[in-house]
Amino acid sequence: AAATAGAGGLLLPLSESEQQRYSELFSRCCPPPEAAAGASSVGELFRASQLPPDTLHQITEVCGAKRVGYFGPAQFYIALKLIAAAQSGFPVRIESIKNELPLPRFMALKNDSEVRYGTPAELHGVKFQVPHATLEKNSYKRTDEGDKQEPKSPPMSPICSPPASPSTYQRIPLSYGYGKSRSGLEQQHGAPYEVRHSTHQQDAPSSGNYGAKPAHCSTLNRSLSAEREQQDSSAHYSDDPWRITEEQRDYYINQFRSLQPDLNSFISGSMAKNFFTKSKLPIPELSHIWELSDVDCDGALTLPEFCAAFHLVVARKNGYQLPETLPETLLPEYLQAASLKPMRDCALFDSYSESLPGGQQTRDFSRTEKATAEEVPDNSALLQDAKKDDKQALKGSTALKTIPKEFQHLTVKTAAQESNALKARPRSRSYSSTSIEDAMKKGEEPPTPPPRPQKSHSRASSLDLNRVFQQNTQAVRSGWLPPPPPALPPRPPVSQTEQVSEVELHPQMNRPPSQAEENSSAKKEVVLAQPPSKPARRKLRTEAQGLETPELSPTINVTSSLPAVKPHLPVQKQSSKQKRAIQTAIRKNKEANAVLARLNSELQQQLKEVHKERIALETQLEQLRPVTVL
């Protein structure tokens, strides 16, 4: 007896042994009552199949897990079949799994004997859908009325085109509910496994699935309601096709790296354009994707924006219609919070492995960062809310273990705020003079003059900082860009401890030359910054300051927001701190460069216009002159 596993119209023939095996593997990876397999266990399993990683990537894509964002039973089964196909030497394609295939082999799992199973012809009603039929609305309606067949679990398959509008995503939980129950109630769903299709064959089977959903909603409602609740609770595996999985994210991050090695920086518009044009999507669609993903509208894509854009491209290529607005799961804040967490983790633990005092020191950094984050001018409520969160989190966290997460969250938010604020700011520049003045004023007030009374720090043995501050009072006003590497920018909430730690780092630096270089480069930049007009300068400074806060947060890997600021001397771990400090400085410089470059181009533009004006005036003057001479 052959059973089929319908997956959104992909009707796979599965023999009994296959089914058994697959369900066993699935339950291994996905302990009930969850509905979808844990990504890590699935990953392990796949790796056990000893296929090369890009094959595995391909398999995940083809089986639809990438798109739907999780490994539901359908995706899992398809993936297993694909693994079998790949192991038999077939290309990773849906077509391959139509044929008879041995069971997939996984090392360290018991190897089953090969079993042949029926060809598609044997099974009733099994038909295979050619990839990527376009969704026709009329077919949708037809299947709504006529189709009684219950579709298999998540109706999304790589082949079939998905619903045209996000509203239909609402239906998905229903079908997902169906799928969920499968693992638990296999007997009950013996029938559903056999999908007979009558009318909706030629057209998008997924539409059939959707059509069938409401039909079956009532019948299976009761049994599924429980599972659905579970599904709701497991927010990680939702049906949201706009949710990016870990694998997808990793892939996107690698792509980002190929374009722009610094993950904290952005990809310029032209680079992104070239890159996405390669996807062969039509330009208006790419334009729309850009509009959706470039949230701060600055003509550049940060890492989360890039991931969102890439995800949209992938979705579009898989047949999804682009949404009108950016889905919540693709928002940069969301993505940043989600993605930066794992990225920070390793750095975090690295730092934890160092001595605690080091942690305290950087803790101070982080506190000052947050404080400066408050200072940075911002207009959006988001920033303010996040700030409040920051403060609360600051107060709340005591246990060291929990601190990492909080800090990450905070720094992520800080970084997000900063980057958002940063990007939002340049825009206000382009408008009327009044708004420029406003922006200027805003830029002026919060970062109150760096030469603050706190210049003389408690442990001010290191004169460098004092001297530096005094020297650069003027320079600071005029756009002080990366100050001496370990020394944090002299921003308002610079606490004494911070200065202390800076001071300590300072003498500890065994690389005076690089310091000197950075000092001089900082001064050079200061000098450069001076010639531009005043408003630009102030803007630059606030931007620089804003820049440095996100810079600090990713680079300063320690967490902890212990309430008490301890001003004692931390023990220095010299070389690593130095390295970090240098890296920090390098990154700061790079960002400052980017900002300066943009500033430069804008100023050039202004200059051009001013030139034009001048020429116009001069010609006018010329015209008038002969008259007066007479």
């Binding site: 334009s287 729309h288 850009w290 509009e291 009108e324 408008y431 003079s433 533009q605």
Partner: protein
């Protein structure tokens, strides 16, 4: 009735015209084109203060129907024109200004899109939505 037009230099042909309601569009087009000339006049007459947030242009009133035509010019000489019913007396100066500012914002957003070639007609959905919502507000 509200019509908005965006015309960048140097060609000064409209990249985007949207009117609500959609009847009489031709007439609006005509109105807009004539008003563009007036805007140009104003710009050249202005001299030093080239950056003007907005200009209130009430002079163009048709004998049969009343229209107020507002113009707005950016630093880069992109002209925005709005034609409003005079019957719509609820519209105040500030509102017009804010509408122009919104238009300007959205326009810069479009410019930031690397897939947009300057000089193309504007097909952005986001922009359309913004304009529509603005117009709905007024009418």
């Amino acid at each position: 009735a509200l019509v908005s037009v965006i015309c960048p230099p140097p060609q000064n042909y409209p990249l985007y015209i949207r009117s609500v309601p959609t009847e009489n569009e031709l007439k609006f087009h005509y109105t807009v084109h004539t008003s563009l000339d007036v805007v140009d006049e104003k710009i050249s007459a202005m001299g030093k203060a080239l950056v003007d947030q907005r200009e209130l242009y009430l002079g163009l009133l048709y004998p049969t129907e009343d229209y107020k035509v507002y113009g707005y010019v950016t630093n880069s000489k992109v002209k925005f024109v709005m034609v409003v019913d005079s019957s719509n007396t609820a519209l105040r100066d500030n509102e017009i200004r804010s509408m122009f500012r919104k238009l300007h914002n959205s326009y810069t957003d479009i410019m930031c899109n690397p897939f947009y070639n300057p000089g193309d007609c504007i097909h952005s959905r986001a922009f359309d939505n913004m304009v529509n919502s603005m117009m709905m507000q007024v009418c």
